[in-house]
């Protein structure tokens, strides 16, 4: 089965049409009574966050926060040196500090001043203070900032899994170019960046996903369905890891980078006692309409295919939960299952279930493999898409790839080495291990695990495999390069990113749902809210950002931004 035709009778079993439906839901779609949805098929507002591992072997005394600040400032320096603009917030300033024209910023010399980021301003060679930025909004609508001890890139809002992958990979290019900018500065120790999730010394850092879901959805119901799905989806989107346990001291290879760092099923924490389902509810959007589901359990994927499928599968599962068609799966002990599945790259380990799985297959058994459980979600998703007539190409592409992955993993997992991170890594490291007769705890295998995630083209093993064609590309490299400088066209990220890029000198502040602009230093300050993530798209703002800001264009910008919200709240004087 590789294709799901659109359902001819999408109205089957339907309830009344929801009047105030979300923008991605077709107007003719008929939803079950009492149900609301913020997505359709794989289409949904989503975005990815990556906390990069940061390491300066030639500068062992430098703190991780300092190195992260250095990365953020190097990127600001790079963009502005090419005549571009970023919107930034300075270290130790309030959220709305003036910034924008970044020309003249210097690269902080962390080697010379490893402890300077506390209260003393860092002084440049000419005696003037060096501006240090900790938070940037980029021309592509993304955010690059210092998240405690890591540089973090949060992608702009996208509306489908392929775009989510493209703007996530654009973030890797942003991080890489920042690192290269530092490396090119005379006398500056290199700062290396890794897209992984652990140092194998008990510390883990995240690769989060965000999906908007309908506010009306009951959170208990959402969590109940997500816990088993998040426990098993690693068999497709795990990034692979050498070592077992939080310190990696157990010899072996496991599917997931993150599995060993989770201790709870549901909770608010993200840094301690991490939960499989995170309850953070900070929508950065109209809270009456949306909940932002903040997913903290994923691994940082290098593979385009794995990133895309991670978002695509999750979008479909969310659609099922919203519309009431998700399969009933309940694990006896989800945290133990998460780790048991991760620790068995042969995919044969079984985990106990509260009740046997639905549908055909291992009937009656209260034990199932991760793959068998994931297949139950897949088959439910196929029925769901068929039933509601969600069979557009983007959705069918995800469903077909999901099925192909599940079937191939079930028969010949090694054949997924050209698509899935953990399989590619496992195959490469197993080959090396066997060639040299090494045990899994040999440092060179740990080195390969780390270097798989090294962003540098000449050192990164993922990069090497991609270049050789051993791992598949889903889009031409050019598309990812373009996404470094351009926002997605179909969300508010368009208005945000293009305002920063074209009208940068007027931008006083920018966040996910707010833009602050003024004409000049003395002019009135305008705050524009962008509470609807689908408002502010290129289609809605034709011509506004077409050319470099010309005479009179500031008024046009104000008029356009006013259109994407109810009306600007005017502030007099300083914020």
């Amino acid at each position: 089965m590789t294709h799901v035709p659109p359902s001819p009778d999408r109205a089957a079993g339907a309830g009344p049409v929801v009047a105030d439906r979300h923008g991605l839901v077709p107007s003719e779609a008929v939803l079950p009574a009492g149900r609301d949805t913020a997505g359709w098929g794989v289409h949904r507002v989503m975005g990815l966050e990556t906390e990069y591992g940061v390491h300066a072997p030639a500068n062992p005394g430098a703190g991780h926060s300092v190195l992260s600040v250095e990365v953020v400032n190097a990127y600001a320096d790079l963009v502005t040196s090419r005549g571009g603009t970023v919107a930034g917030t300075e270290w130790d300033y309030g959220e709305e500090s003036p910034l924008v024209d970044a020309r003249g910023w210097q690269l902080p010399r962390s080697a010379a001043h490893p402890t300077q980021l506390t209260d003393q301003p860092l002084m440049g060679e000419d005696g003037s203070p060096v501006h240090l930025l900790t938070n940037l909004v980029l021309p592509n609508g993304a955010r690059l900032y210092v998240d405690h001890a890591h540089p973090e890139y949060s992608s702009p809002e996208t509306t489908n899994p392929l775009d989510a992958m493209v703007w996530d990979q654009a973030g890797d290019l942003v991080a890489l170019t920042a690192s290269e900018r530092i490396a090119a500065a005379p006398g500056e120790p290199q700062v290396l960046l890794y897209k992984n999730n652990t140092d194998n010394k008990s510390v883990s850092y995240g690769a989060h996903e965000n999906y908007l879901v309908a506010r009306g959805l009951d959170f208990e119901e959402l969590a109940r369905h997500l816990v088993p799905f998040f426990t098993v989806r690693q068999v497709i989107c795990g990034a692979g890891r050498v070592g077992l346990g939080v310190t990696g001291s157990g010899p072996g290879f496991q599917i997931s980078q993150r599995a060993d760092f989770f201790e709870e099923q549901v909770g608010l924490e993200t840094t301690v006692r991490r939960p499989i389902v995170n309850t953070r509810d900070e929508p950065h959007a109209d809270a009456d309409r949306y909940r932002r589901l903040h997913v903290i359990i994923g691994d940082a994927n290098l593979s385009q295919y794995a990133t895309w499928l991670r978002c695509g599968m999750t979008a479909l599962v969310l659609s099922m939960i919203e519309l009431g068609t998700a399969p009933e799966v309940e694990l006896m002990d989800p945290v133990a299952a998460l780790q048991r599945i991760s620790h068995d790259p042969t995919l044969r380990a079984t985990v106990p279930l509260v009740r046997p799985l639905e549908g055909p297959g291992p009937g009656g058994s209260r034990e199932a493999t991760g793959l068998e459980i994931l297949r139950v979600y897949l088959e439910a998703a196929e029925r769901h898409v068929h039933h509601f007539g969600m069979g557009d190409k983007a959705t069918l592409d995800v469903l077909n790839a999901w099925r192909e992955s599940v079937e191939t993993l079930g028969t010949e997992p090694a054949a997924m080495a050209d698509r899935l991170d953990w399989v590619a890594k496992y195959q490469l490291l197993s080959g090396y291990r066997q060639r040299h007769g090494l045990d899994w705890d040999h440092p060179r295998l740990g080195m390969m695990d780390l270097q798989y995630a090294d962003l540098r083209p000449d050192k990164g093993l993922y990069q090497a495999m991609l270049r050789r064609g051993s791992l598949r590309r889903l889009v031409p490299d050019e598309k990812i390069r373009d996404a470094v400088g351009s926002p997605p066209r179909d969300t508010r990220a368009w208005a945000r990113g293009r305002t920063v890029d074209v009208y940068g000198r007027h931008v006083v502040g920018a966040s996910w749902d707010t833009l602050l602009v003024r004409e000049d230093g003395e002019g009135p300050l305008y705050r524009f809210h962008q509470r609807e993530p689908l408002a502010g798209s290129a289609e809605q703002l034709p011509g506004v950002f077409d050319e470099p800001a010309a005479e009179g264009s500031y008024g046009r910008l104000l008029e356009a931004l006013a259109r994407v919200q109810a009306g600007p709240h005017r502030h007099h004087g300083h914020p």
Partner: protein, 67 residues
């Protein structure tokens, strides 16, 4: 060689007793051959890509807490 890499996926944990416990022989089609040759050539050059003194490098890779 394909046998060598195929064996990576054979059962390592004999206590696993899933319903699909019999290892399925890995098909060795043309695509598998190419992939194996490709992996071999990557393995040939990997020592020149790996950081020197892996043990020290891995030990020195220490991160502060994250989310």
């Amino acid at each position: 060689m394909s046998q060598q890499y195929g064996s990576s996926f054979e059962r390592e944990d004999d206590s696993a007793n899933g319903p699909d416990a019999d290892p399925t022989p890995a098909p060795t089609g043309a695509a598998g051959q190419t992939s194996t040759a490709d992996l071999d050539s990557l393995l040939d050059e990997i020592d020149s890509v790996l950081e020197t003194n892996a043990e020290e490098f891995v030990k020195g890779f220490v991160q502060k807490g994250g989310q």
